[in-house]
Symmetry: C2
Subunit: 354 residues, 2 copies
């Protein structure tokens, strides 16, 4: 083979075929997959989804009595009114303690390969047990959660319905499974991107199409791909150039804490970008308050690219096209506490290990 | 007139006519009025109720960005999942500060003669401005609320729709009016008591009927009457016998702080009893965790009566019949923050006066 031919082949290998063909929709379909309720249900493992379990999970998700103070629910930090997150920057929990990282969104979380910024939980039922017990979040214990649930007859009945045949239905394990079942319904289909993927040329305007083209050609889609436009793998934050210490502080080594592998220092689960326009502030530290700045930080730190202002504008416009239909939720009426229900513990002393 | 005749007349004056007649429903109808949406709408003054205003009010009620921390919404303490209150005892607000009194329920609050435990606000739109500015609650300022609302285009549009022709629609005053409009929809019709009042004999069981009879005959209904079974007037807590200092601490003089009248020391707005079974813990201090104890405390402190156990049981059963249909609420999807939206202030320093 001639040198020129090899060089030509190499150059082509760097450019996806579809880009050569110039078909934006084909390129986009090679990168992204649409959000659907069916795909979400399929993503749940070892947890049969039933209407009774989903409804129970919704009640538990909104019930502040799952926290020791009885003031903080899952929805406090993963607020379904606000794109599944809180106001930021990092979450405030028991005793107004500030947590170490920003709340990840619960919307479409079922599509992520693993949960938490460092991927330390394999699925949503494993994840659900974490914040309940974290001293800076809900500050509760599995035994107190079980005592609370079992003290309320209507909850016991709902657990029996959701977990028929189980001899201890209102357990901490089943609590987590019910939460997972509800969270698997929290998906946001019908975004403009998904309509475009399905063939609706007009779903994206010219600026959004330019942004999508840039998102693919600049390399963003190398990590932010799949159903969730991210969430499927890990990447070192600052791979090309480290962002400021406010955005990426030395103390938080990311996935290294999970794997202890030096290769994972500052590695985080790639942020899923569905509904990202609803979810400022950005990054695990929540220190970047505009999508424009977040895009510029990513381009520089991950790709070594300085975007022109019109490029940033276009990519931000494209990211707005990832906002889907937000879940419709009837706010649940929760069963009242009973005389035997444990009282809230709102004092600031940290709990004892046991 | 003979002495005997006068004595007989006097005795009859102490016993309502219907009680003599022994018709429990007539007696009950002389004391209570049913909860209806129409009555609620009629109770609102100087604030036209429109669907646009009610919908906006719902969004504002659930929006934590009304607080300076952007973490505390009206619903945090007046939780519509939990009978319109929080877990108790007294509410936790900005910086995990503990407020001085228990959150009163927002359900049926429109029927109260005045708002707050001491009646210091004449209506719900006046009330709505209080917690927003209280340092121990939302710790915000009217100007920051207005800056937040006006920074979010979708909110500005909703205010324009709700307050057509207003040249500054997204104002703090209109914020309060929208909240009032939504809260006026938070009523709980169709309780067993209301069905009984309307003629359904089977709506109350034998124990509940016994409780209703006792509630009237012992004198409870002397204060706890009207639509809301309370909320219409004021009474001195401990009129006959002072309860413990935990329940009625010396420091909180109740309505005295509003009127400065010595007659109002320890006077509070009579607690409305609709849905009371959903709302433990009880009293302004939230120190009584069971309805049984609350009934006994009331009987002793207000009426000088020591109830027999079966009387307490019956009255508690009757109070359970005051639970109505809880409002059906679609959890709102709130408009996203904009780049110009003020950031949350979550630090613990108290705000400066200005």
């Amino acid at each position: 083979m001639s040198r020129a031919f090899i060089a030509a082949l190499s150059a082509m290998a760097l450019i996806p075929f579809a880009a050569v063909a110039g078909d934006l929709r084909s390129d986009a379909n090679a990168v992204f997959k649409p959000v659907t309720a069916a795909a979400a249900a399929k993503a749940v493992k070892n947890n049969e989804l039933t209407p009774a379990k989903i409804e129970l999970g919704k009640e538990l998700f909104f019930d502040p009595r799952i926290s020791s103070s009885q003031l903080i629910s899952c929805n406090s930090c993963h607020n379904l009114s606000l794109g599944g997150v809180d106001a930021g920057s990092t979450s405030i929990g028991h005793g107004w303690q500030k947590g170490p990282r920003r709340a990840p969104t619960v919307l479409n979380a079922v599509f992520n390969a693993a949960q938490f910024w460092d991927g330390r939980s394999e699925d949503l039922k494993a994840q659900a047990k974490g914040p309940v017990q974290a001293g800076v979040e809900m500050n509760n214990t599995p035994s107190n959660v079980e005592a609370t649930l079992n003290s309320i007859p209507a909850y016991v009945a709902s657990f029996q319905k959701a977990f028929p045949g189980d001899n201890k239905p209102a357990s901490f394990d089943n609590f987590a499974k019910a939460i997972e079942a509800f969270e698997a319904t929290l998906v946001t289909p019908n975004s403009r991107l998904d309509k475009f993927l399905a063939g609706d040329e007009a779903a994206l305007d010219a600026t959004q199409k330019k942004g999508l083209r840039l998102f693919i050609d600049k390399g963003c889609s190398g990590c932010h791909d799949g159903v969730n436009a991210g969430g499927g793998n890990y990447a070192q934050f600052g791979a090309v150039e480290k962002p400021s210490a406010a955005i990426l502080p030395e103390a938080d080594k990311g996935r290294f804490a999970v794997t202890k592998s030096p290769a994972d220092v500052f590695s985080f689960r790639v942020a899923p970008l569905r509904n990202v326009a609803l979810r400022a502030p950005y990054f695990h530290t929540g220190q970047v308050w505009t999508l424009e700045e977040a895009v510029e930080v990513m381009a520089k730190s991950q790709l070594g690219v300085q975007l022109a202002p019109d490029e940033t504008t276009a990519i931000v416009a494209f990211l707005g096209a990832l906002t889907g239909d937000q879940p419709k939720v009837d706010y649940p009426v929760l069963p009242a506490r009973a005389n035997a229900t444990p009282k809230p513990q709102q004092e600031l002393a940290t709990k004892h290990a046991h």
